[in-house]
């Protein structure tokens, strides 16, 4: 029966809703699905108002089409949620009778019957259903247990977050609240009905972290350790642990004297809740471990037994100063012997670095006709042009200036490339890929880089050779000095590439800084000019180490013996550089992989 107010309410709502309701009233049941959809949308709003309106529409539908089972079911559900179980019961019974194969209808019906203690009827309906559908329901169980188990398992289908308890439907959190109240009032009897009920419900809702926590914590506080333990273990097995439960678990292990396990559990809690102190068990001293365990015990004890306390922010006790111990067997960061071994092994892996270096040169010119000779051609044309202009400016004969310029420039290019590319010796794409995939001596990356630049150097040196042949250069015994000169240059470039490579991997600003610095250096280094052009200030050029590095190769190529100062500087630089590099390498070699 419909009241006039209801009808008026429907009319006042949107015209569409009025129209569908009117149609439903007139019995045009083919439109029932539309009205139904509208009512369900209202229900999904989740508000009391929405539910009321939906109830009115369902009532209207049922008045017009009483054979509509879903209508009975939905209306029963609305009444059940509102606590009007007496109204809900007959409606649910109607739905279940109209469609006995529908699990949803059956669950609601059975739950409603259980709230009226009609277990015999309800159990009969469940048995009939189980007979037909065999859903793993134990048909031989006593009526009451059959019904409660069935409801526990399937009630979430129709009334999410609700449980049947003491003949009433409860929102789940209300069950927890009752358990807490019971525990407080009765001093925590393990057989307290609410706690038992919660335990039963938990079996069907194992992921319900809050219920598990309260049961475990109460058991722990009561000294029912085995039960608390079982709850935690089950939670861990089912991967449904939240941080409060990890804390309980840890406290239980600590009480058993299993300290490492307790610390591991506390760490799990800290991984989920960032407000908890996070310490790796291995880092803790014995005192620190004790302090941390005490802290967790206090934090649990500080949790008041009050409804909702679980989800409110926890008040944590003051954290004492926890001393950490140095990792027992942390390897020393400084390993000079390993560093030296790495360097020697790296140099010995000739096939590896040579193939890489060759590939570097080839890959730059892949699919070109001239290949590496493109560099030669470009540099050569530049050098010829420069030699033409500068020999006029400086009033030097081209026959003398061109070999000077081309040999010096080749060395300069080698030095500049070694330093700028050196910054990326370990961070360049191939080097990274190798270091992330293969356990090779790290020094091969330095060897590869220097080898590649030596290959390029030999190519650019051919410009000098062409010039030397064309102009005819004086060859003397001093020319042979080019061999130790180049060797010393390479020895210097190895440490420089390694040192710059390490620094460049750690500090990424280094590469552009070196690039900028070298541009300036080029102009203050006697490559396109001669030191004696500075006249009485020629010694200024001697302050520049690059002057000497170039001289030890260029002078022999010009048929001259390099000055002693050049040899001394280059040698001193080589020794000092290698010492510094080995010291740095001994410390940084193992860490480079983390800098990539």
């Amino acid at each position: 029966m419909r009241s006039p107010e209801d009808l008026a309410e429907l009319v006042r709502s949107t015209p569409w809703r009025f129209e569908t309701a009117r149609m439903a009233l007139r019995g045009e049941s083919r439109r029932v699905p539309d009205v139904y959809a509208e009512a369900m949308a209202l229900l999904r709003e989740g508000t009391d108002g929405g539910r009321e309106q939906a109830a009115r529409i369902f009532q209207a539908i049922l008045d017009a089409a009483p054979e509509f089972a879903e209508g009975h079911f939905q209306l029963a559900r609305i009444h059940a949620l509102a606590g009007a179980l007496d109204k809900a019961r007959p409606l649910a019974a109607n739905a279940a009778a109209m469609d006995p194969d529908n699990l949803n209808y059956l669950v609601l019906h059975v739950a409603m019957q259980a709230t009226a203690n009609n277990f015999t009827n309800a159990a009969g309906a469940v048995r009939a259903f189980a007979h037909k559908h065999a859903r793993g329901i134990d048909r031989n169980a006593p009526d009451e247990r059959l019904v409660t188990d069935f409801v526990d398992e399937y009630l979430t289908l129709v009334l999410p977050d609700h449980a049947l308890h003491n003949g009433r439907l409860w929102p789940l959190h209300a069950v927890i609240d009752e358990v807490i109240a019971e525990w407080r009032d009765q001093g925590g009897r393990p057989d307290a009905s609410a706690a038992q009920r919660l335990q039963q419900v938990l079996e069907f809702h194992p992921a319900w972290a809050e219920a598990r926590f309260w049961l475990a914590e109460m058991a722990r506080r009561d000294g029912r350790i085995a039960q608390a333990y079982a709850l935690c273990e089950q939670g861990e097995r089912l991967h449904t642990m939240d941080w409060p439960l990890w804390m309980v678990f840890g406290a239980l292990e600590a009480a058993r004297g299993n300290e490492p396990q307790a610390l591991a559990h506390f760490e799990e809690a800290a991984l989920i809740n960032e407000h908890l102190p996070a310490h790796a068990p291995a880092d803790l001293t014995a005192d620190g471990a004790r302090a941390l365990i005490a802290w967790h015990r206090d934090a649990l004890a500080a949790l008041p037994l009050a409804p909702g306390a679980y989800s409110r922010p926890w008040r944590y006790p003051e954290l004492p100063e926890i001393a950490l111990r140095p990792r027992a067997d942390a390897p020393s960061a400084f390993q000079p012997r390993e560093a030296l071994r790495d360097i020697v092994a790296g140099i010995a892996m000739t096939s590896a670095w040579w193939t890489l270096a060759r590939n570097d040169v080839l890959s730059r010119y892949r699919r070109t006709f001239l290949g590496p000779w493109w560099t030669v051609a470009g540099t050569g044309i530049g050098l010829v042009g420069m030699a033409l202009v500068w020999s006029i400016i400086f009033r030097l004969p081209a026959a003398e200036f061109f070999p000077y310029l081309s040999s010096g420039y080749a060395v300069w290019l080698f030095i500049a490339a070694t330093l700028t590319e050196g910054c990326q010796a370990f961070t360049d794409g191939t080097a990274q890929a190798i270091q992330k995939n293969m356990n090779l001596p790290r020094f091969i990356h330095v060897m590869r880089l220097v080898a590649k630049n030596v290959i390029v150097f030999v190519h650019t040196l051919s410009i000098y050779l062409a010039g030397a042949l064309f102009f005819g250069i004086t060859v003397s015994a001093a020319t042979l000095l080019v061999v130790p000169g180049i060797l010393l240059l390479i020895a210097n470039s190895l440490w420089a590439a390694c040192l710059f490579g390490l620094a460049g991997a750690r500090y990424r600003d280094l590469a552009p800084a070196v690039g900028a610095f070298l541009t300036v250096t080029f102009f203050v280094t006697p490559v396109i000019w001669k030191a004696d052009m500075l006249r009485e200030r020629a010694h200024l050029a001697d302050l520049n180490p690059f002057t000497h590095m170039i001289a030890i190769v260029r002078d022999p190529l010009m048929g001259l013996a390099p000055p002693a100062l050049a040899w001394q500087t280059a040698l001193a630089l080589c020794i000092a550089g290698w010492i510094v590099t080995i010291l740095v390498y001994a410390r940084a070699r193992r860490r480079v992989i983390y800098w990539l």
């Binding site: 291995a282 390897p331 096939s351 040579w354 356990n439 500090y507 983390y594």
Partner: protein, 245 residues
Amino acid sequence: MARIHLDNVWLNYPVYNTHAQSLRSRIVSAATGGIARRARARILEIQALRGITLDLRDGDRLGLVGPNGSGKSTLLKVLAGLYPPSSGTFAREGRAETLFDLSLLDMDATGYENIQLLIALRGINAERRRTLTAEVAAFSELDNFLDLPVRTYSAGMLARLGFSVATAIEPEIFLVDEVLGAGDQYFLKKAGRRIEELSQRSRILVLASHSMDMVRQFCNRCAIMRRGRILDEGPVQDVLSRYTN
């Protein structure tokens, strides 16, 4: 005789952001007498492995299973000797070979050139390199594709190439991270046979994978990893049945 032994291995992985990595921040820190020392604190440390204990002997084929970021790849890199543990002991006997990613391949070089490069990286001399190259080429069954630049290869062909090279010089310890999944069924079978062969000659395989099927196919032991820890380890059937529940 191959063996891997890890005892309570922890690995802290420093993550450098642009700030911490710049030279300026160091200089600023020094110039301000350490007021700007916070730069150091900004270096984030990730605990990538937390107390890993593992003992692998001849014939062990271990599958590492776990969600992304659980430490599978990091553990493999420790086993390969690429990442030094922050603490704990790590010992390995036997030559290790890795198949982690395919970044080592030079995309512009041909298949043959890549095979030669990869073999050279293993420190093999020139004569043996030639015969090995032929072996690898035959096993990969890439035939004429080996004359083409690698960038023209499909993911499956790349995986074939990588696998063929990695197993060419019989490794005592073979560490594989995921890549194999790209190969086709036929090649997977062939790879399986070779792994089978390797493990019959008392070798160790460690395979990280998301695919339970691959772990079942290739491994006899399985470790479940989560957040840098081994949760469960044992015979493959037992562990997987526990884990999938």
